[in-house]
Symmetry: C2
Subunit: 195 residues, 2 copies
Amino acid sequence: MHKPAISQVPLNETIAQRWSGRAYAAEQPISPMQMTALMEAARWAPSCFGDQPWRFIVWNKASDSVAWQSAFDCLSEGNQAWVKDAPVLFLLCADSLFRHNQQPNRWAQYDCGAAAENLCLQATSMGLMAHQLGGFAADLAREKFNVPSQYTLMSMISVGYAAALDTLSPEVLAREQADRSRLPLDGLFFSNHWG
Amino acid sequence: MHKPAISQVPLNETIAQRWSGRAYAAEQPISPMQMTALMEAARWAPSCFGDQPWRFIVWNKASDSVAWQSAFDCLSEGNQAWVKDAPVLFLLCADSLFRHNQQPNRWAQYDCGAAAENLCLQATSMGLMAHQLGGFAADLAREKFNVPSQYTLMSMISVGYAAALDTLSPEVLAREQADRSRLPLDGLFFSNHWG
C-alpha cells in the first residue's frame, strides 16, 4: 500500500513512502539478505562521538518461533492484536554510558532513534513495512532477555511484508487506508528564535 | 565527496551515502525549496502516539547573517572551526511532555533522533551535507532563543554543500577522506537474548 507523505515539495522517495502499517502478510518471511540490510542500515546511523549506543535483540519467527513468541508475549495486548503476523521483531536498547569514558551519554536515546529510523527506511526501500512500538513490558523484557541495567529498553520494532489489501477485514482495511497527518510546518519550525 | 557505508549487502543509496562531513562551501546557499524539503522530511518522521515532539529553530545565513552568527556563537570552539562555512543551522528541541495528556514522554528524545536523521538523509538525497552537533552551550542557547523549560535542547545541525576537494587544506582534506568505521554487526545485534 502506498500512503506517501503529503508535503509541499517532493521528498526523498523512501522517506515519503515510509509508513507504520499494521497488517502483515503472515506467510512471507524476510530473507537473510534483507535481515542483514536492516541491521547494516541501523549500524551506519550517525551518533555522538561515534558511540553507536544502539543494541538490538532480534527474533525471527521463521528460524525460531518459540523465541519469537517469547518476545511477542512482552507486547501490550493492543499491539499483539496486529503484530501477530509480523515475521521479525527487534528490541532496541540504548547504552546510557559512553564507551570511551563510561560517563552518561545524554544523546544515547536520540541516537537510537536515528538507528531505528534507518532500519525502518531500509525496510521501506526493500518493499517491507516496519513499525516501532513503545507499548511493551520493558521490565519483563529486561528480565527475560537479560538486558543489563546500563541499557534502556526503548522500543520494539516489527518488520515484514504488508498483507494484500484483499485479505483484510473491512475494519483493518479502513485503519490501513486512513489518512496520515502531521502538525503544520510553522508549528514545528521557528525562524531565528522560539515561537 | 562519496564515502559510502561499507556493508555486507547493498543498502538504500541515501542511507549508504549519508555522511557527516565538515568542509562546507561557504558561497553556496540552500534554496527555499531545499529548506522546505529538509523540514518536511523531519516532519514526516514517525513518533510515539504521533506526538511529533520535535521543534526546530532555523537560521539561514543568506537571509539573516546576524541571527545566524548568534546561533553560531553557541557552538563549542572546536565545532566553530568548521561550521563557520555552513549556510544553515538548526537547533532541535525535544518536547518532554506528551501533547495529549501532558505526561512525561520517554520517547521524546528518541523520536527527535528519527526526525533529525530524516532531515540529514533528505539533505544527502539533494546533494547537501548535514552534520549533527552535540557540542554547543545548551543553557546559553535556551536563554538567547527563549526555549521553554519543557523542551530539552538536543542538537544543532549544520547543512550546506560540501566544499570542492581542491579548495581544502591538506589537513582538512585528510580529515574529510579518512575511513568511516562502525562496530561489527555481532557486537550490535544479538539473536533471541542479550549477548
